[in-house]
Symmetry: C2
Amino acid sequence: MRKVILYIAMSVDGYIADNNGGVNWLNQNEEYIDSYSSFINHIDTVIMGWNTYHQIVTELSPTTWIYSNLISYIITHKNITSTEQIIFYNENPCNLVKHLLTQNGKNIWICGGANIVQQLMKQNLIDVYYISIIPTILGNGIRLFESINHCINLHLLKTQNNNGVIELIYEKK
Amino acid sequence: MRKVILYIAMSVDGYIADNNGGVNWLNQNEEYIDSYSSFINHIDTVIMGWNTYHQIVTELSPTTWIYSNLISYIITHKNITSTEQIIFYNENPCNLVKHLLTQNGKNIWICGGANIVQQLMKQNLIDVYYISIIPTILGNGIRLFESINHCINLHLLKTQNNNGVIELIYEKK
């Protein structure tokens, strides 16, 4: 059965971006990239929010869509025409995930941001938490984990140390 | 030279206690205790806030002081008479740490809570971050890391997996 996987990097103090949404501090840690290729082999769908999408197409790769081998869902209330590859989705991401889970396919990658992660966690829809911890205390910024009203017990599947970036892979119990 | 060590457990989402200050969810993970004996051998001083102290003497061990082999500093504005072993200190914990660092001794354990950790981090006084991550998303509570105005780059010294509780040991660069 396909799984819903949060694959994301955060600082030791739990931030995924600085106060302006910037992620340049992540790029100081290129070793983080190492695990990506083995992860992405088992993924055929990526879900992200508008800010994450906008950052990719304006800063990271303005000319080509970097996830061209995946079906990409961008959660947004903006009225933008979808393509076959990039689908702009203006409903609750939980509904999207529940729908995708009724279809066959590889795993589904939750790419961020924090708001989408929080919505999915509230409905306990994330099966695997794949968190890379960057060896930095960022001090402030956008937190990965905002408050939810219930506890989620996890089982640690694996850890990996990529040159100081520690990857923690948990599945929900 | 003696070092200032934050040795503490937090949930995957960064909480050290629930909203009422409760830490019962920690006790479900007894393996966490395993690393304590090797850690404590290099410690002769512990610093904690009033809430942490109060919780220990009311809930954990009402009859005997559990850190009897350490000099314990309790940061509080309450006017309580100190003993040789338990010293109630009503100034800024940064001043205490700076004073202790001028004296010979073993390492200094920062035991919590979050407010004391934050004050010391603001002055970059913590040398080693020894964080045990409990395999639970607590959902809400008291965060270990509150906002500070600067970034602290860390070097990952060691990790250890104690039956699902992963210990991350960093030193500041």
